[in-house]
C-alpha cells in the first residue's frame, strides 16, 4: 500500500513524462482510501497516519475508521444507539485508544479468556469504562483520567 502510494506520488512529481503517470492515484479518491483504511488494524492505522497529510487528516478526523476498528470483532454489530453515545463521550478513536485496545490485548493475554471474538460483555465493559473515563475528565477538568490507568497508558496517535 505504501509502495503503491510512493509510486503514484513519484509519478505525480514527474509531469514531464506523462506516459509514465498512472491513470489512478489513491489519493484522488478519498472514499476508496477510506474503505481501505477502514479495514486496517490499529497499529497499521497508526502507521498510515504518518504517511502523508491526507492520510493523517483522515485517520485523525474520520471517526468512522475507528468505529470499524472498535467493533470489528464483535459477533453482532452494535445497535445504532451506540454511535451518538460514543461520539458524545469522546469518539471512537478515543474509545479504541483508551478502552478497546487495552481490553482486547489484556483479554488476549489472560489465560481466562482466549476468545478472538468479542462478547457483548467485553463491549459493555469497554463502553462503561469509556463513560467513566469521560466523566472523570469532566471532574478533573480534562486532565488525564486516572481511573483507567490500570489499563496502561496508551500511545496517542
Amino acid at each position: 500500500m505504501v509502495h503503491h502510494h510512493e509510486s503514484s506520488e513519484e509519478a505525480e512529481k514527474d509531469p514531464q513524462e506523462p506516459s509514465k503517470r498512472p491513470k489512478f492515484s489513491i489519493n484522488d479518491d478519498v472514499d476508496i482510501l477510506r474503505e481501505i483504511l477502514k479495514r486496517l488494524d490499529g497499529p497499521s492505522l497508526g502507521v498510515a497516519s504518518c504517511v502523508c497529510r491526507l492520510w493523517c487528516s483522515l485517520t485523525r478526523n474520520d471517526d468512522s475508521l475507528w468505529e470499524h476498528l472498535c467493533f470489528r470483532h464483535v459477533s453482532s454489530p452494535p445497535p445504532p444507539s451506540v454511535r451518538p453515545v460514543v461520539v458524545a463521550l469522546g469518539g471512537y478513536k478515543r474509545l479504541y485508544m483508551v478502552c478497546v485496545r487495552p481490553v482486547l490485548s489484556r483479554l488476549g493475554d489472560s489465560d481466562r479468556v482466549r476468545k478472538r471474538v468479542w462478547t457483548r460483555h467485553a463491549v459493555q465493559l469497554s463502553l462503561s469504562l469509556f463513560c467513566i473515563d469521560s466523566y472523570e475528565r469532566r471532574l478533573s477538568g480534562d486532565a488525564s483520567a486516572s481511573s483507567l490507568m490500570f489499563l496502561c497508558n496508551p500511545i496517542n496517535v
Binding site: V85, L107, R112, A122, C131, S134, L139, S146, M149
Partner: protein
C-alpha cells in the same frame, strides 16, 4: 500489674517509683508514690526491679554485654548460675547484672539443658522489654519447676524480647541444631510445649538464625497478638513495651508486611495512649476514596455488580429513581447512565438522590457532583434529575423527605455505608425501615467481608489483622506487577492511607467513634432477612462482567470473584474481601 514473688524475702514487695520522668514522655501516664530510697526507674520498678535512674545507662550497657556473653556461652553452658542459689537480689538490677557478668567472664561449666532453660527465662525477665510479667525471680533452684510451667504460658513473649536487643543485630549467632538451644525456641505450637518437668528437654530443635525475616515475620505477628492481648487485659505497660517491640520488628520486614505491622502498631499506640484519631474533612476523605478507587478494583467491582443488579431490576421501567446513600464523587453512576442510554427501547428518565455529609466550608459538594452528572447525562441523551441531601448520618434521613413520584421504580444503593450505623443502637433498624418506606424495587448493599464488630477487642484485632494484611497484599501485588507511573504510585500511597485510617478506627476507637463496624455477608444476610428483605440473585451477567473487569485489571492475577448464594464476593487469592448483595422487599410488591 501483679507480681508473684514466692517466698523470697529478698525480693521487695510493692511497686514504688518516683514519677519523675526519664527521657521518654510516657512517664507522665503513671503517677505513683515517691520512694524515699532514691530515684528509681519507673518502668523497671513496675516490673519489680529497682534500678536507680542514674544507673540506667550503665545497666543497659551491662545487659547488652550480658546478653552477648550468655549467647556465646550457650554451648558451653552456664548451668552453674542455675544451681548456685547464692545470687544477689535480682531486683537490684545493677548489682545482679554485675555479678552475672563477673561470673560469666570466667570459664563456664558444662551443659545442663534445663538449667539453660531456667537461665534463659531469667535472662528474659531481667530485660526491660520483657513481656512476661508474672515470673518468679527468686530462688533459682526451686523455681525451675515454675519456670518450666511458665515456659508453656509465656513462650510467645520471652524469646522475642531477647532478639530485639539492638546489640544482637550486629552479633550473629551461629546456627545450631543442638537440643540445648531448643529451650530458647519455645515458640512453636502449644501442643509441643508440654514441659511438665523441666528435666525433659523438648526434642524438636530449631536452628537459631538471628536475622531471618520470615521468622521475624512470624514473630511480628505473635508480638502484635501479644500486644493486643495485653491491651485487652488492660495491661498497658506491657502493651507499651510490646508496641515498641513491634515497631522494631516491623522495621526488619519489607513490603506489605511492614506497612500492615506499622499501621497496627500505630493504631495500638493510639489506643494505649488514648490518642484519638484526628478527623479529616470530607474533601480529604473523598480524595482518599478516589485514589482507592483508582488503585485497586474493589470499588469498581462494587459499582459494576451493583449497577448490573439495578439495571436488571429496571429492565422495564420508564422512570427510575436511584437513592445513593453515599454519593461522594458519583463514580458509580456514569456507567449506569450509559447502560440505560444504550438499553433497547431507549433510556428511561433517571432521577438520582444523593446523600452526603455536611461540608466544612459550607460548599454544596453534592450539587457540584449532581451538576457534572447532569452534564454527562445530557451528552448521552438521558433525561436526568438530581437531588442532594446533606445529613450527618443516615439515621437523620426521613422517608417523607425523599420525594417518591408515582410510577417510578426505586433503587436504594449503599456502598460501605451501612456498617457505620451499627455503632448506635437502633440506627440500623431505623434506616432499614426508611428503606422499606420508599418501596424500592431493589436494594444493593456492598460491604466489607469481615467481622470487625466482635465484642472482644482481641477478636476484632485478630480479624482486622488478617483482613488488612490481605488488603495490603493485594495492593502490593497490583502495584509491583506493573511499572508504576508517579500518579499510580501516589494512588497506592493514598490507598494505604485510606486503609490505615480504617485500621486505626477498628483498633483504637471505642463506642460511637468506632464506625468501621464491618460484618460478614452471612451476618448482613441475617440482618436483612429478619428485617423482611428477600435476597435477589445477582445474575450471571454480573458475574461475567466482574470476571472480565478483573481479567482486564493490570496486576489482577490474584483477584478472585466468587458467587455465594446469589451474592458476589471479590477477594485476593483465597480470602474474600468485599461482598455485593441485592435485596427486595416483597411486601411492597403488589
Amino acid at each position: 500489674m501483679k507480681r508473684d514473688y514466692p517466698d523470697n524475702s529478698k525480693i521487695g514487695g510493692g511497686v514504688k517509683a518516683e514519677c519523675s520522668s526519664m527521657s521518654s514522655g510516657k512517664m507522665k501516664m503513671w503517677e505513683e508514690e515517691l520512694d524515699g530510697s532514691g530515684a528509681m526507674d519507673e518502668l523497671l520498678a513496675a516490673l519489680g526491679y529497682k534500678v536507680r535512674s542514674s544507673d540506667m545507662a550503665d545497666v543497659a550497657q551491662k545487659l547488652e554485654k550480658l546478653e552477648m556473653v550468655m549467647a556465646t556461652s550457650q554451648e558451653e553452658g552456664i548451668s552453674h548460675l542455675a544451681s548456685d542459689t547464692v545470687h544477689y537480689d535480682p531486683t537490684d538490677l545493677h548489682g545482679w547484672v554485675q555479678s552475672m557478668l563477673t561470673e560469666l567472664d570466667g570459664s563456664p561449666n558444662c551443659l545442663d539443658p534445663s538449667a539453660l532453660l531456667a537461665n534463659q527465662q531469667i535472662g528474659d525477665n531481667i530485660l526491660p522489654s520483657a513481656g512476661s510479667s508474672v515470673v518468679s525471680t527468686g530462688n533459682f533452684s526451686n523455681s525451675q519447676q515454675q519456670i518450666g510451667n511458665l515456659s508453656t504460658v509465656y513462650h510467645d513473649d520471652s524469646e522475642y524480647d531477647l532478639r530485639a536487643i539492638p546489640g544482637k543485630a550486629v552479633f550473629p549467632q551461629s546456627k545450631t541444631t543442638d537440643s540445648e538451644n531448643s529451650p530458647k525456641r519455645l515458640k512453636a505450637s502449644p501442643s509441643t510445649e508440654s514441659v511438665p518437668s523441666p528435666a525433659t528437654v523438648p526434642e524438636q530443635a530449631r536452628p537459631v538464625v538471628l536475622v531471618d525475616s520470615q521468622e521475624n515475620g512470624v514473630r511480628l505477628v505473635h508480638a502484635l497478638m501479644a500486644c493486643a492481648e495485653a491491651v485487652q487485659q488492660n495491661n498497658l505497660k506491657l502493651a507499651e513495651a510490646l508496641v515498641e517491640h513491634v515497631g522494631r520488628l516491623a522495621a526488619s520486614q519489607a513490603g506489605a508486611m511492614r506497612k500492615v505491622a506499622s499501621c497496627f502498631a500505630q493504631a495500638l499506640a493510639h489506643r494505649i495512649y488514648g490518642i484519638s484519631q484526628p478527623s479529616i474533612d470530607s474533601a480529604l476523605s473523598d480524595m482518599l476514596y478516589m485514589h482507592f478507587y483508582e488503585s485497586c478494583p474493589y470499588l469498581k467491582f462494587a459499582h459494576f455488580t451493583a449497577n448490573q443488579a439495578i439495571l436488571e431490576a429496571f429492565a422495564t421501567a420508564d422512570r427510575v429513581h436511584v437513592i445513593d446513600f453515599g454519593l461522594k464523587q458519583g463514580m458509580q453512576w456514569p456507567a449506569l447512565m450509559q447502560a440505560l442510554a444504550l438499553r433497547p427501547g431507549g433510556p428511561p428518565t433517571f432521577r438520582l438522590t444523593g446523600i452526603g455529609p455536611p461540608q466544612p466550608d459550607n460548599t454544596d459538594a453534592l450539587q457540584q457532583v449532581g451538576w457534572k452528572l447532569a452534564q454527562l447525562a445530557k451528552t448521552i441523551g438521558v433525561q436526568f434529575e438530581f437531588r442532594g441531601f446533606v445529613c450527618n448520618s443516615l439515621v437523620d434521613l426521613e422517608p417523607s423527605l425523599i420525594e417518591i413520584r408515582p410510577g417510578e421504580a426505586v433503587a436504594v444503593n449503599s456502598v460501605f455505608e451501612l456498617h457505620e450505623l451499627l455503632a448506635r443502637p437502633g440506627a440500623i433498624d431505623k434506616v432499614l425501615n426508611t428503606i422499606k418506606a420508599v418501596n424500592p424495587k431493589i436494594v444493593t448493599v456492598v460491604e466489607q467481608e469481615a467481622n470487625h464488630n466482635e465484642a472482644l477487642f482481641l477478636d476484632r484485632f485478630t480479624e482486622a489483622l488478617h483482613y488488612y494484611s490481605t488488603m495490603f497484599d493485594s495492593l502490593e501485588g497490583s502495584s509491583s506487577s506493573s511499572g508504576l507511573s508517579p500518579a499510580a504510585r501516589q494512588d497506592v500511597l493514598m490507598s494505604e492511607l485510606y486503609l490505615r485510617r480504617q485500621i486505626c478506627n477498628v483498633v483504637a476507637c471505642k463506642g460511637l467513634e468506632r464506625v468501621e463496624r464491618h460484618e460478614t455477608l452471612s451476618q448482613w444476610r441475617g440482618r436483612m432477612g429478619s428485617a423482611g428483605f428477600e435476597p435477589v440473585h445477582l445474575g450471571s451477567n454480573a458475574f461475567k462482567q466482574a470476571s472480565m473487569l478483573l481479567a482486564v485489571f493490570a496486576g489482577g492475577d490474584g483477584y478472585r470473584v466468587e458467587e455465594n448464594k446469589g451474592c458476589l464476593l471479590l477477594g485476593w487469592h483465597t480470602r474474600p474481601l468485599i461482598a455485593t448483595s441485592a435485596w427486595k422487599f416483597p411486601a411492597g410488591e403488589l
